[in-house]
């Protein structure tokens, strides 16, 4: 599904900027099982902007998708939208789901998950942690592939630390064309690479408590240990497997989603300014 969505009136430069920044924020909201953004996955029906309020409507591939996952997506979308200075309040409307009432009331009422679902066994945090760690590995694979493609050697890659990675502070690394630089040879020279895969990786690594200080290893084994260079290829293959798992499951969900959106006659993402 296209990421550039039409608006129903010509975009001024200012609103075009806001729309791009909304997309860049929503790029960070993932289906936790598939580790793909809800924009990319085509779950978003509409985002309506009215003064300082944004209302996001979305539909999942099935009515019976995990309520815990639906909850995570709704909370994350709300928080990402509200991180923009132009948006004072974000409201979420999950549609056509078995638990839409509990989720919409809970997320918009800012309740904890356990209050919205008193009889759920298990809580959201541990589910999220497990999936985050898989996502970390899958994103590491994509980031490392980029670095290999840019000419870095396995020896250089396993020796990297967060301090070697620099983003442009003035540009959202999720914006199209954003670049990052990797310092090599004790800062003697640097290599420029696309920022998005590295930002995606680093963010998830930090979510699970890795790569938090400047001299930590940037990349780790699935078990969270530093990577010995002899083990680089095995770690790479396990990351590839984690990636195939999410994209493979993504294929199942994508087929369900396509079928359902056709049935419900839902369009792709549209950002609409209220008059």
């Amino acid at each position: 599904m296209s990421q550039t969505a039409p608006s129903n009136r010509p975009e001024s430069e200012e609103t075009a900027g806001l729309h791009d920044r909304i997309r860049a924020r929503l790029d960070r909201v993932t289906d936790p099982e598939l580790d793909e953004s809800i924009l990319e996955l085509g779950y978003i029906d509409a985002i309506e902007l009215d003064e300082r309020t944004a209302t996001l409507r979305f539909t999942l591939p099935t009515a019976w998708c995990s309520p815990a996952f639906a909850w995570m997506m709704a909370v994350d979308a709300r928080d990402e939208l509200e991180s923009l200075p132009e948006i004072g309040e974000a409201r979420i409307e999950l549609r056509d789901h078995m638990h839409e009432r509990e989720i919409n009331e809970g997320v918009n009422g800012r309740l904890p998950f356990a209050d919205a679902f008193p009889d759920a066994d298990g809580e959201v945090r541990s589910v999220r942690a497990t999936l985050d760690d898989k996502a970390r590995l899958s994103r590491q694979y994509l980031a490392v592939e980029r670095l290999l493609a840019a000419g870095l050697s396995p020896e250089q890659i396993v020796a990297l630390t967060p301090a070697d990675l620099r983003f442009d502070p003035d540009v959202d690394p999720r914006m199209d064309g954003a670049r990052a630089s990797i310092a090599l040879g004790d800062g003697a020279f640097s290599v420029s690479v696309p920022a998005r895969p590295l930002d995606r990786y680093l963010r998830k690594a930090r979510d699970v408590g890795h790569a938090t200080s400047d001299d930590d290893p940037l990349f780790l084994t699935p078990e969270g240990e530093p990577i010995e260079v002899e083990a680089f290829e095995l770690v790479r293959r396990r990351g590839r497997l984690a990636r195939t798992n999410v994209t493979g499951q993504g294929g199942v969900c994508d087929a369900l989603n396509e079928q359902r959106r056709a049935k419900l006659d839902r369009d792709g993402p549209v950002i609409v300014e209220a008059d």
Partner: protein, 352 residues
Amino acid sequence: MYQHQGEDVFVIDGHIHMWDASEENIKHRGGEQFIQCFYDYHTAFTPEERQRGIDDYRKFTPEEVKRDLFTNYVDMGVYQPTHLHEFYTEGFNTVDDLGGTLFKEHPDRFVLNGRWDPRDGEAGMKELERQKEEYDIKGAKVYTAEWKGDSKGWRLDSDEAFEFLQKCADLGVKNIHPHKGPTIRPLNKDAFDVADVDLAASSFPELNFIVEHVGLPRLDDFCWIATQEPNVYGGIAVAAPMALSRPKKFSEIMCELLYWLGEDQLTFGSDYGIWDPDWVIEAVMETELSAEQHAEYGVEFGLEAKKKLMGENIAELYDIDIEERKKAFQTDAISEEFGLGESYGAAAPADD
């Protein structure tokens, strides 16, 4: 029998059902949710002209099963029971449903698997003995996400499950098919976790563990366990229909499975009646890995590997002599009924 590039491919569909989700049989709203969920999977992957209506989909009779399988490239079917008595008055897809019908009439065409649940205790042990005695079962399907009373699932590495696994080893029920993933509403997700297979498989090296649906959405955990346990196999049901509509994803999954498990550890399943087998078999057989995939993974998915996947591997697990079966199928009742004898090498009937 299926033909590929002029060669015979003997197909043992490793995952078939014959269910009853008719409204009269549903006793809990979970039963309706369950069949609706299956139906979503059915319509999402089945080519439009082959889709069934929901009423047709609710119940499969022995006559329909016989026709749907054997006129659609399947030579033999492995029946995987799914009892779900909490949701369905007479059960959804029980051992005796096939045992009392098609299996009785055509025992050479089916592998009838048993089923157990450690939460059934002593009565469950007796039932397992009955299944062995009555049907001489050589395998059992276990459904760790099944509801029972307040329980929303169980684990294969629990003490209670180990007692049943020991019983299976004692009885010669050597093939255990844990049903894992994908998420099915209203069954709870964590009951599909594959980690429990690891300890069970290493504790019972005399048993084989065929993880159904290759653990999706836990393919990564599954492959990692399977590389370490020689008696762990992957059943590709649910991944298989992607071969038609999402061929790249399917071939990536096959590459991973071939890389981590190898071509001897994989079995085919259409998951009939979720999907009809013919188009799934065609799509899997037509799958070709790309040059990049060959280079990246260093694996082959040629005719030899496909023949193993489609039947030879599971034949080994169930001591099925394919050549001997082919001979028997030249003249068995199924071939007589559907005119299949020639495909197994019977002489063409005289033209008079």
